[in-house]
Symmetry: C2
Subunit: 273 residues, 2 copies
């Protein structure tokens, strides 16, 4: 159902190209991209309080007057390259925008309405920056979960930052829809599968874990019940940190074992008819 975003791309040309100067990369991309298919990555992070999304500023000024024509934000996305697998395109975007390999990445929906880039601002942007792009672009949505401490928001040339999912700035194209749908997909999955760990450091405390579930699922949980539940899950394992005793500044650390999870998961037949 999901895969790790490792950069073992089958697209040799691009890999080689990255060893050249930056302008060279740019030219290669422009020549080789598929005009009507793109990927958009909704990159989720968690700052111990709220769920966040990584967004990049989009600014367009009038060349003569300097008037600001567009000022909003976009997701991390790019057109698929000729000869590139869809998943590799998503991995490539992630690697470029966050510098990270091997992070949780999952395709969740494809956006293919005819009018998704027909807004006047978006038309202006596309015609100015990407004149060779098709009018009808299909975009394949991926969401990825990262430990946001690992992402330096200023990685690229563009101005990129985290926004709480509850307080999104104005967004380009249909990116608001894309984010909402990603959020639904993330929530739906988090109810059934242990993917929350992807948003946390390897070592985490139960308080962190509980906050994560509360923030992402939008629910309130009782601390004792949560901890009781965790203690039954064999795949959430107490680290032996050789600490004497837990205290507010010295809480106990846990880690998640997917191997144990796969082996011990129960099949309780609790379904909705």
């Amino acid at each position: 159902m999901y895969f790790r975003a490792q950069n073992h791309s089958s697209f040799g040309l691009f890999k080689k190209a990255t060893t050249f100067a930056t302008c060279k990369i740019y030219i290669i991309k422009m020549e080789k991209l598929i005009k009507n298919i793109s990927v958009d990555c909704v990159i989720f992070g968690f700052n111990s309080k709220t769920l966040q999304v990584l967004l990049t500023e989009r600014i367009l000024k009038d060349e003569k007057t300097g008037e600001i024509l567009i000022s909003d934000y976009t997701l991390q996305g790019h057109h698929v390259l000729v000869g590139e697998n869809l998943d590799d395109a998503a991995r490539r975007v992630l690697k470029e925008k966050t510098g990270l390999d091997n992070i949780y990445l999952e395709q969740y929906y494809t956006f293919g309405n005819v009018n998704r880039i027909s807004n006047p601002k978006d038309q202006l942007w596309v015609r100015t920056r990407y004149p060779e792009i098709s009018d009808h672009v299909i975009s394949v949505g991926y969401f990825s979960l990262v430990n946001s401490a690992l992402v330096k928001p200023d990685h690229g040339h563009e101005f990129t930052q985290w926004f709480p999912v509850e307080e999104l700035p104005p967004l380009a194209f249909d990116h608001e829809t894309i984010i909402q749908k990603a959020l639904e997909a993330l929530r739906f999955k988090l109810w059934r599968e242990p993917i929350g760990f992807e948003l946390l450091p390897e070592k985490f405390t139960l308080t962190q874990l509980q906050s994560l579930y509360e923030a992402v699922l939008g629910i309130k949980l009782d601390r004792r019940n949560f901890r009781k539940k965790v203690s039954q899950m064999k795949h959430i394992i107490l680290m032996d940190d050789h600490k004497k005793r837990s205290s507010p500044n010295n809480p106990q650390n846990y880690f998640f074992s997917r191997e144990v999870y796969e082996k011990t998961r129960k099949a309780r037949l609790d379904f909705t008819i």
Copy 2:
């Protein structure tokens, strides 16, 4: 999360075209299709015993010798038309292949590997029948659930029939993968949401309903426990058929009310950490 496949397409040109002669439709399609984007519909049906998929035969003979070069099956699919929304393309395919409007349809995954049509047989087929098609076709997968009694398998010109999902014939392209993934998506969803009714007639018996869950989810259920569970679900409603008494040949009919479901669904916080 899903939508009904009604044919309120925003693609005026095609709608008008269907009123012309068949050859005309063909020409319009060939001229106006997007060469690298298609939709594939995995149409599931249920015959009171097994879950089935609707497949169409693909045959290619050598023009001179008559030798059979290809003989296998494909899903119902087609390229997206210029100016057509993705969802409308899926609805169009469904309408063409089953004659049905207003059936359950859900997009579940997009298949974009470079090599998905690179098998020699598939290359031969594509070059013979659709020479103008791109080498790298992205296909958006939809699954739909129909009451299979409503589908006359010979609807189109092609030879189309139902196959049990456990006994699939040889399949074209990556259609086996596409079906497996559709099955996963269907199962995953059936655990959490009441979509099984879409595979049954409006009136159904509890035995039919239970068989459906057993067949699709691949589990065995206790009849008494199942019926107890159903009796707690207010959205599964006994029909007042004015029958005296239920018996083996005269079982009681039920129907499903989505309205009641939406109003009475419980939010039990039962999640996996």
